[in-house]
């Protein structure tokens, strides 16, 4: 038993140190590309940390969104940065700007920043250590009301019933980010994807698999880790894969049909909210007998919208404009 607990400590210690080290290297190594790869690795290790903290729901979300999509977004943005440079005939631009970055570093001033931050870290650590050894969380209250929530996975119950209003606003944040990006009016990258037989094969194989896993996560979310966000981001990853393979949304679908898909998630929430209030109940109060059906409907549309929004975030420009140029 002694060995077991020692091993647990060793594993957690290794993950903790690994996280700090990866974060440090990702933030301070001189090359940008290396930093991004290290950041992706950081996200993967984060997933292990969530698992160790007994939060598989969060681990799923982290691996799909945090490591997967954010990583793809960062890589793609990095490539576009270089692309801009190359277009201007400044192939060595990045090197230059990085050297400039090194030059502007003034260790003395940076040391001045480090001191208060170190103090802050010590202070925060002290604050955390002062907490009571046992959490006064809400697990008991959640467990008590779980039966009335319509699902048996407590995290899904919190996200889609007890605190469904947060989730409504959160999907609104996603949609807003996309609208904000579209309103920047970025021109789509001119470089067309060259066909690649290996990639085609991979896409043909992976896309159905991603669809299947997404559907599975959506279904399993009611009673085990999973749910709309995880399912949506896996589905979104399928979209990213298709975009990378050179597939484009047909123009006939890129207008209103796409926009309707993007807003479906938040709109369903609003419709449900209005219906519950017309029934005389509170905002987003689901009658226990119908709660699981309502949550299922909310999750399906949320999954579709989240997937569409994430894929569109990756594309980074309006698809209905991309064909014109």
């Amino acid at each position: 038993m002694e060995a077991l607990s020692l091993l647990q400590w060793l594993i957690d210690g290794l993950i903790g140190i690994g996280l700090l080290w990866l974060a440090w290297r990702a933030l301070f190594c001189p090359e940008l590309f290396k930093a991004i790869v290290l950041f992706i690795a950081f996200g993967l290790l984060m997933t292990l940390a969530w698992v160790r903290l007994k939060a598989p729901d969060v681990a799923l979300a982290e691996v799909a969104i945090g490591a997967g999509l954010t990583g793809a977004l960062l890589l793609s943005s990095w490539a576009k940065l270089r692309g801009f440079d190359a277009n201007k005939g400044m192939g060595a631009r990045e090197k230059n700007s990085e050297q400039a970055e090194q030059k502007t570093k003034r260790p003395f001033f940076h040391g001045l920043y480090a001191i208060p931050l170190l103090l802050m870290a010590v202070g925060l650590g002290y604050g955390v250590l002062q907490l009571t050894p046992y959490a006064t969380g809400l697990s008991a209250v959640v467990a008590e009301n779980l039966d009335a929530s319509g699902v048996s996975n407590p995290v899904t119950a919190v996200l889609l019933n007890f605190r469904a209003y947060d989730t409504l606003l959160e999907i609104a944040v996603l949609l807003l980010a996309l609208i904000g990006i579209w309103s920047l009016g970025i021109r789509p990258s001119v470089r067309e994807a060259t066909p690649d037989p290996v990639l085609d094969l991979l896409t043909r194989f992976l896309t159905p698999l991603l669809l299947l896993v997404s559907a599975y996560l959506l279904w399993v979310g009611a009673h085990a880790p999973g749910g709309a966000f995880q399912a949506g981001s896996v589905l979104g990853a399928a979209g990213v894969l298709l975009i990378l393979a050179g597939w484009r949304l047909p123009l006939s679908l890129a207008g209103l049909p796409l926009r309707i898909t993007l807003v479906a998630g938040v709109s369903t929430f609003i419709v449900v909210a209005v219906l519950t209030m017309l029934g005389g109940a509170q905002l987003l109060a689901f009658p226990p007998s119908q709660a699981s059906l309502i949550i299922f409907v909310l999750e399906i549309t949320a999954t579709l919208s989240i997937a569409a929004i994430l894929a569109a975030l990756f594309l980074g420009s309006r698809p209905d404009h991309s064909e014109k140029i």
């Binding site: 933030l27 050894p133 809400l138 959640v142």
Partner: protein
């Protein structure tokens, strides 16, 4: 000290590293990475401290962290798009104070 506290302290470390990097780096991609790592640190504190229990961990922080991760990816996407736009116009992915005057 328990494993919960260990991870909470790691979270604090990540947060402070992120703040430091956010302040000293000029390149916007680094700043965006720094914000993401700061965010991970906060999420880790939020979730780790829920592990101070013998029974099943508190689901509310887990739900909050999932919400936080989604918000973070939204913000990251917007920030990256903004960075690309700045780079397209000025040729540099950095904040440029001289331009604002």
């Amino acid at each position: 000290m328990s494993i919960a506290i260990l991870y909470a302290l790691v979270g604090i470390g990540l947060f402070c590293l992120g703040v430091y990097a956010l302040m000293i780096h000029a390149h916007l991609l680094r700043k965006i990475l720094a914000l993401n790592i700061m965010g991970s640190g906060v999420f880790m504190v939020l979730l780790a401290l829920a592990g101070r229990t013998e029974i099943t961990p508190d689901p509310v922080p887990a739900a909050m962290v999932i919400t936080g991760i989604v918000v973070a990816v939204s913000a990251t996407a917007l920030a990256l798009a903004l960075m690309l736009k700045i780079n397209a116009i000025t040729g540099r992915a950095e904040l440029n104070d001289a331009e604002e005057k």
